[in-house]
Symmetry: D2
Subunit: 360 residues, 4 copies
């Protein structure tokens, strides 16, 4: 089944396992004549790449992308764009121990229950390595958005919570996100997180996180009733990222605590255009974009691969304890920031094409 | 575009506006030979029906469903099931004032921005009235789940928060949900909510809410990598319900604050089967059901139709104030409980069929 | 499964059985603000309606269509258009005999083999009555094509062969198609077919036919590689019509007998535009429209419901003979003309929206 | 848009151009635990490979397939199978002349009209080279069919007409198809075709063909009403193959000339099962398989790349003549035989999974 495809008109299909020869995706539906070359994609892949600080896994993957089809003389042709990333730093020997035991918090048991077979090496298909393909597809989506909507489109993300430590939103500074290994927008929170993550790693434990991704420069009108809702697609997109357990738009769960007056964003005219006086809605009303910033947050659970021993069972039904060694992110939420941005970009590119199909 | 269809193999397409002659849906993909008659569906529609307490809208709709196709001699035939519900209590005169002004918090502005035309009567297509079709489709989904998996399948929901008032989870009692107008599982919280909602209505305001829906009796193995994830589909399903702004599975946003040890549910053998010692995962690991209860929560914003005047603009760009009269739910979250249950049922029925397609 | 939906962006879902209370369809994806009222649809339904000459079934159905959703003040709103046609002239008693025996050439046996249950009354879901829904959806598609492309769009069809009797193409006169009960474009062939059909009916037999449908005014560029081909979608569309056993585009099977020079249409410039000197391709080259007339032909087998007794078996495995009485078309191909036109219109409307999604 | 994907549950997405670095496909939906290795696929690719006789193009491509994902220890895992075939014998210099002129009968003009850009080298995406990916996907489909239905499944094809020369069906001998370069089942026709093709090539011309593909061992029940019809999907599948202009099932266009009695296959009981006394239906009745052989024929137009000069125009609107040199098949229908078989296999695998989704 097309379980490995995402999107309708801008659609990508990913393939590949953590320890196979390569991973990749086929991006279908891109409009023609958009300039696209490998560096356009590599730029975003480099931001997701592991091993760039002591706070992420030490697996060393260059994540060099190759374009195998769909462009001609540096521009898209409208035909499918095949992107491939070779796997290089595979240490399959690391995974011998988990061949027959189910790691708690991982997909090991459920894949086995579903398929009766699993590529256990590095989690196989369920590895977060697959998210490199999403980032590659997201890079193409960004090009489409800019090509059609102009350079005002801006899609970016930040980490807003690590464990129990939240940023102070008043100190939000986008420039800061590029100046620390956490995509943290609040300079004063950076050392707090450094200490928290270091401590978690030393304890053999891990931390969860909350990511916020924001799109600016998106016109009103994207999205559609009733099951083609922009917010529903964003929710599915973010929840499909590994380890995500919650998604919210705008005020999100906090909206439940607002009064009707607080929640409903008022409108006034500004320079001849409808302007909202607040953005509780997160840029989406009645499933359709309002023209404000689109604001999505999602929660990532703490890394399940931890050194501390945990109770589990084997394929044969034996009760055992499992301590996960190997090279793991103490907080997988960090590297989820570029992935969340990419998913936001792909959903918007898809809805942009869907909108102009119906509305010209 | 198929924006009005939901699901892949168990798939329904809804149609209809709040003040048109009728609403309905076409349910496609149901297996053959399942007993199905109108009372099977009416039972669930009656639970969603407005006007059953002073805490919901006083619009009086019998919501009587008719089956127009897809069954023969009381059983499904495998062909599409067309369900129709006539609109009866339409007071279009209530809506004259909003013909040319955008209600804050509603889809008025965005529909107009997207389509350049809108059926403003009662919100037209964006009315929560559409959710009756979801409940009808959900009733068919329940029949399929029971038919294939047996009577152990149980899908039910509860309201767990109204405004700032949360239930005490230790007092959870399913029987209580049927004995109060809020689907509240905590007897001591009922009077608190009564008072809160009465006060909100008197103030001309409204309240948000959080709903929790739970499925029991679901075997391991439903769901699929990577974009056919059970949790991603549930997130999209719930976010597609009117006024929903956040969705979470299991520990949800709370997972961000857990340590790796706390979060990863341990496993032991119980009666020859894998058993989890906790359910932080909400019954879904690595996108696939674990066999535990599937636990989904979603946040509903406070009703946007409130008596208190709010700033807005007209279609012509005039700045005005708007006070929404008419018959409205002071807390739309209440009636979202059966809708959330229905969406949970449809996602599970769909994944059940998807699973057996691939895995026999 | 979505087996009852057709199209991707312009998409319709049909439902209903021959002897249920009604049939209908939900048309999704129509652009907004297109004038649409019931007479726009009724016009085309009236052309398909049975009982208009002695050469079609004497079942009397007014086939009056109602629009239940998706329009407001006479224009489309962009939301799903629900169309319903009530069944009136149902003589279920006619069908008692076939409750337990499989009619040769019909879907009786295969439905039973697949589903283990079937609505045998009038063929149930497999009745050609379903094609009324296609004609209704086709009427909406025509409105879209004209709205977007202008009044130059013209979709029409003709019967070009009945049994062994073919028209003489040199005598083709479109006006003639409206002046005889066969949509025959060749005046001299009309009496030949009259006699042939009368004789077949008297013999208790039936005749097959070939239909040709043509679209003019379609710009180059509709269609897409590799599986979104315009010709592949047209082939599927026509083959999905009841009793169709073959489809061809342009020169079709005849292309196999041409030389490369004869087949490849040459090009010249005419008034600054590319013009083809012939149309062997039937208006589609490399899966995409050329701007010429799109020409599709399809073959309809002779009506399987015939008076002459035929060998068959019962549900219980008894060998019997079956003579089909009741009111049947001696040549179902006649009424397939408006159905073929409708399917051509829906495929083109779908590809028009698909094209502008990707190409703006 | 997902224009480059085929199938619903068994679904493959192809990518790649004639003169890019590689072509390939992603096969999604395969059931788990099916033995699959590269030789299983290579076997079928070798049958399609060019340059094996003087009657096909002399382009030398080893067409060596690599499996990049979706298998583990020699068996499918249920995750997407990525297949890649490198392009080796690319002589881009051959194509300089056609960079700015539209080859008659080719997709050059329509791609340009649609996209405003085209990879002209070897036809780019519209090259028949893409069909290697179909054959690879078809090889996986064959494995699924055999795995689920048993070794009785047999999918094979033959060329039944070249130019005006048809085989004599009474002499049909399957063994002969493997013993000549045309997949001709009639030994006496082989020398006739040899001479015809040699003559066409010498004349600088080309020939069309008709292919017949047949599936045996398929149970009754595959397919579905109304738009999920087995025959409609087969028609779309075959029409999507390059150069195909017509498709028919069973008696096909010939059915138009039969009487109702001749056409409707009679039934009797044989060894406790329903048996048909003839197979005019081509194994499909009312859109669903009957359990008989499924018989599909399709017509391939003569190769458009011919030496004889033809009138055409350039991108700049200049009127020119074009003579296509390079290495081309004098009758592309020959190599379409394994492609047709592959498409038949993929449609059947898809419908097999679709059937068991709904019917268990």
């Amino acid at each position: 089944m097309s379980h490995n495809s995402f999107g309708r008109l801008f659609r990508f299909t990913t393939w590949g396992e953590s320890h196979g020869p390569a991973i990749g995706c086929v991006v279908d539906g891109a409009p023609p004549r958009i300039p696209l070359a490998e560096p356009d994609i590599q730029h975003w892949l480099d931001r997701r790449r592991p091993g760039q600080s002591r706070f992420t896994t030490q697996r060393r993957e260059p994540d060099a992308v190759k374009i195998l089809s769909g462009t001609f003389e540096g521009r898209t042709t409208g035909t499918p764009i095949s992107l491939v990333i070779e796997n290089e730093d595979q240490r399959s020997k690391d995974y011998g121990e988990i061949a027959d035991r189910f790691r708690p918090g991982h997909a090991d048991y459920t894949y086995w229950a579903k398929y009766g077979i699993r590529d256990y090496r590095g989690g196989g298909r369920s590895s977060a390595r697959e998210t490199a393909s999403r980032v590659a597809a997201g890079a193409v989506a960004r090009k489409i958005l800019t090509h059609v909507l102009g350079v005002g489109v801006q899609i970016r993300g930040a980490l807003v919570q690590v464990g129990r430590h939240r940023i102070e939103r008043e100190r939000w500074d986008w420039a800061t996100t590029e100046a620390n290994p956490f995509w943290c927008p609040d300079p004063q929170t950076v050392p707090v997180w450094e200490q928290a993550i270091d401590e978690a790693r030393k304890r053999g434990s891990s931390l969860g996180a909350v990511i916020e991704v924001i799109a600016g420069g998106i016109p009103p009108g994207l999205g559609a009733p009733i099951y083609g809702k922009l917010d529903a697609d964003l929710a599915g997109a973010m929840m499909s990222i590994n380890a995500v357990k919650g998604v919210e738009i705008g005020a999100g769960f906090g909206a439940a605590e607002l009064s009707g007056e607080e929640n409903a964003d008022e409108m006034r005219m500004r320079e001849g255009k409808v302007a909202f006086l607040s953005n509780r809605a997160g840029g989406i009303l009645g499933e359709i974009s309002t023209g404000q910033e689109i604001v999505v947050r999602f929660a990532v659970k703490p890394t399940s691969s931890i050194l501390n021993a945990r109770k589990t069972v084997t394929v044969a039904g034996e009760e055992v304890e499992l301590s996960t060694k190997g090279r793991h992110d103490p907080c997988v939420g960090i590297r989820a920031v570029p992935v969340g941005e990419a998913m936001l970009a792909t959903v918007l590119a898809d809805h942009l094409l869907r909108h102009r199909a119906q509305n010209g």
